[in-house]
């Protein structure tokens, strides 16, 4: 005989699922939006340095990425996930690695490449092999090589608050420091940008021509430090990328051996942006800590090779894209250490 249902219970269906029944309050969306928030200070500084054009480019990039994500997911009959912030993040990151003076149609085209081809045709978030934002940039660099390598804006000189920091930069330039260094040599570079500590300082603070988001190393490091504090990323990738760029540049970047300028190598170009915000992308990077260090060193080495020997002044974008497909291979080599092996120590 069936026992009568308890009197004190309202009849309803309770949730039944596999343990654990409690979960941490971290979500993919929370991580993505936090990273986006960490990129806002460099964006605002960029508006101060280059003008409102940077904000327009970034806005167009973000809106295009979200729109392409929506259309792609509808077309591929997948659940729409534009609120998880990952398309927004791709939009911001892609804007950050294109010059501030380009036409606003470029980020629209870049968004199609980044979101539709590099992300959703590979299977969507989690399945993409290449970093979508960097794929967008690489596509634009291949299709609009002139605009992508010449549409630089000189830093706006006139905000009193910045003139102190900008003391080393009075020459108005329309070429990036790395391009000047590569094409016109170190002498011209020193002539244009100065040298010594004031040069490092002004570059680190952001007062130089460059892509929208790669200007202020200081704000990028602060944003990255916040992500490390939140445990969303660890120091392994940023430190190994920047460390190896510095070391390899120091060894190979000068006239003879050990004559390069490691500090300049780190504060110029997109090194800091790439190290903290691009190479640390979960999906396209290794998961194990040892793997991450190897991956970071690989990115650093490739960056220096491209900068010194390649056809482009900046190399970190291609360095990361070249290392992306090796992530799973690296993870296969550096597996987590088991608690204990079987008896006898086999395996």
């Amino acid at each position: 005989m069936q026992a009568p249902e308890s009197q004190s219970l309202p009849h309803r269906d309770w949730i039944v699922s596999v343990s654990p029944h409690v979960k941490s309050n971290e979500t993919v969306a929370k991580i993505m939006w936090t990273v986006v928030a960490c990129l806002m200070p460099p964006l605002f500084l960029s508006v101060f340095i280059f003008g409102v054009q940077t904000l327009i480019i970034t806005a167009v990039s973000v809106i295009s990425c979200v729109a392409v994500e929506y259309v792609s997911q509808k077309a591929l009959k997948r659940p729409v996930s534009i609120m998880d912030g990952s398309a927004v993040l791709t939009g911001v990151l892609m804007a950050f690695v294109i010059p501030p003076g380009v036409s606003i149609f470029l980020p629209v085209l870049g968004a199609v490449m980044a979101i539709y081809i590099a992300k959703h045709l590979f299977g969507g978030l989690g399945f993409n092999i290449f970093n979508p934002a960097l794929m967008g940039r690489a596509f634009l660099l291949a299709t609009f090589p002139v605009a992508m390598t010449s549409a630089w804006l000189a830093p706006v000189d006139g905000f009193a608050i910045f003139s102190y920091f900008a003391s080393g930069v009075d020459a108005v330039s329309t070429a990036t420091p790395l391009a000047v260094m590569k094409e016109q040599g170190m002498a011209k570079f020193v002539e244009m940008f100065g040298s010594g500590t004031s040069l490092y300082t002004s570059f680190f603070l952001g007062w130089r021509p460059g892509c929208i988001g790669e200007t202020s190393g200081l704000l990028l490091v602060l944003g990255g430090a916040f992500l490390i504090y939140k445990k969303y990323i660890t120091y392994h990738i940023p430190v190994s990328v920047l460390g190896s760029i510095a070391v390899f540049t120091w060894i190979f970047g000068g006239e003879g051996w050990f004559g390069g300028d490691p500090i300049l190598a780190v504060v110029t170009g997109g090194a800091i942006l790439g190290a903290f915000f691009m190479a640390t992308d979960y999906v396209t990077g290794p998961s194990t800590k040892t793997g991450q260090v190897v991956y970071g060193i690989g990115i650093g080495a490739l960056t220096v090779i491209i900068r010194l020997k390649g056809g482009y002044p900046e190399g970190i974008c291609y360095a990361i894209l070249l290392m992306n497909p090796l992530s799973s291979v690296i993870d296969g080599f550096f597996k987590p250490k088991r608690f204990a092996g079987p008896v006898g120590g086999a395996k």
Binding site: A3, E5, S6, Q7, S8, L9, P10, D13, W14, I15, V16, S17, V18, S19, P20, H21, V22, K23, S24, E26, T27, V28, K30, I31, S81, D84, G123, G124, L125, G126, F127, Y282, V283, G285, P286, S287, T288, K335, P336, K337, R338, F339, A340, G341, P342, V343, G344
Partner: protein, 439 residues
């Protein structure tokens, strides 16, 4: 206080949520009208009934035994009449064979007399443990006398008592340590005599400072020549109470994969099991009562209840004033490793440590999304496995290839699924993988 020890790799910090019941003394629940005693209470062979329908039984009488294989006898938790030998609802097996007893509320209470165990031999003590139907109360339900008979070639040098109680919400062990410290310590001494060891360490997480204090005093009172019992405070970290993790935390020894603790010279027993051994040996009282934590925001009156084995969840709910309308999920066991149930007709067993009545805001019912390869599960896994790879392979219909990621070393603690930002049901994927993977 001594420095806090813990295991080396992985682990998570879920909200402890023990405040609802930590300060509530153990309360004896009145015996309901009838009990359903499941025949398979432990790992190993289920018991065969030794009684027939309509038989009269007295409290403590044997009603089931294991004739062949691994097992311990089953005892009547109450005096009464065998109403039926049929099946009951079961949290894991849907339904299981059981004996239903109609309780005789008029029967005189059974008296157990105290005996002096110190004159008994190790063999006699071990027999008492088996006759008492003692199984590992901590959760797995392994027959205790088997655990206390390690292989001849294993050199056991210490006993560890597990008072970590690392699962959120549960306070049953905590209360037993506070209220029955002497019995737990005496139980430890009995186990030490059975094993022939002179060292015992009692691991308790530092979120139970009162238990560390009380147990420390009880241990110091009996420690002397040839018997050294000490309390070892542990860091609060889940899954500290897992056997291999506890052994590493306290002794620094690593139990090899697929091996038992005896391989590194230790035996682990739960504090509540030690208390049950005390009852079985000193009073000859078999294991048929259980302290169960009833907690969660969905129950009107949370409690630490001493209940008879076979008491149904519905009887407990009635006794505690019913559930709240916001109740969303009922769990037998802890929130990290327990089983969600859809019925209240389930009887509790010797291994039920808690029943949780959780509301929407206490649980997580977010749909899961694809793996973003953040690797947090690799950092959280205390065994150094690769939960993300196991899950991805199961999703890709390659579950048979998952042994390389350590699926058979997984004890399903749920740390990976707890930490996963994509809310992936990693334990579910592991269970699927275990069914199909080739060793």
């Amino acid at each position: 206080m001594k420095s806090l020890l813990t295991f080396l790799k992985g682990g998570v910090h879920p909200p402890e949520a023990k405040g609802q019941t930590a300060s509530l003394p153990i309360e004896r629940m009145p015996v309901p009208k009838e009990l359903e005693i499941i025949l398979g209470q432990h790992i190993g062979a289920p018991c065969t009934p030794t009684v027939n329908k309509r038989d009269e039984v007295v409290e403590g009488a044997m009603i089931g035994e294991v004739k062949k294989g691994l097992g311990v006898p089953l005892h009547a938790p109450v005096s009464g009449k065998i109403k039926d030998i049929g099946t009951s609802a079961h949290p894991m097996r849907v339904s299981a064979p059981s004996i239903t007893i109609t309780v005789d509320h008029e029967a005189a209470p059974v008296q157990y007399d105290k005996t002096d165990w110190t004159t008994m031999s190790a063999q006699e003590l071990l027999a008492k443990v088996q006759e008492g139907g003692i199984v590992g109360i901590g959760g797995a339900g392994f027959p205790t006398h088997v655990k206390l008979s390690p292989p001849k070639d294993a050199k056991i040098d210490q006993l560890l008592l597990n008072g970590a109680e690392c699962e959120p919400y549960i306070t049953a062990d905590h209360r037993q340590m506070l209220e029955h410290a002497d019995e737990v310590v005496e139980g430890a001494r009995i186990i030490m005599k059975i094993l022939g060891v002179s060292e015992c360490k009692i691991g308790i997480e530092s979120n139970k400072p009162d238990a560390i204090d009380v147990m420390g005093k009880a241990a110091a009172a009996v420690s002397g020549a040839g018997c050294n019992i000490v309390v070892q405070p542990l860091e609060v970290k889940y899954p500290q109470g897992s056997e291999k993790q506890l052994i590493q935390a306290i002794t620094g020894r690593k139990v090899p994969a697929m091996a038992l603790p005896s391989a590194v010279g230790v035996v682990v027993q739960n504090v509540a099991t030690a208390s049950a051994i005390y009852d079985a040996v000193v009073y000859g009282k078999p294991l048929y009562e259980k302290v169960v934590t009833i907690s969660g925001k969905g129950i009107n009156k949370p409690a630490n209840l001493l209940v008879k084995v076979g008491t149904k969840v519905s009887d407990i709910v009635d006794y505690l004033g019913g559930v709240k309308p916001e109740l969303a999920k009922i769990i037998m066991g802890g929130p990290m490793m327990g089983f969600a149930v859809s019925s209240l007709d389930i009887p509790i067993t010797k291994t039920t440590s808690s029943i949780l009545f959780l509301t929407e805001d206490e649980i997580d019912a977010t749909p899961h999304s694809d793996c973003i390869r953040c690797g947090w599960c690799l950092d959280a896994c205390p065994m150094g496995l690769e939960p993300k790879e196991i899950a991805i392979h199961v999703e890709a219909n390659k579950a048979e290839d998952t042994a390389q990621f350590g699926v058979f070393d997984c004890f399903e603690c749920g740390s990976c699924a707890y930490i996963c930002p994509a809310k992936r049901p990693l334990v579910q994927f592991v269970r699927l993988a275990k069914m199909k993977a080739k060793r």
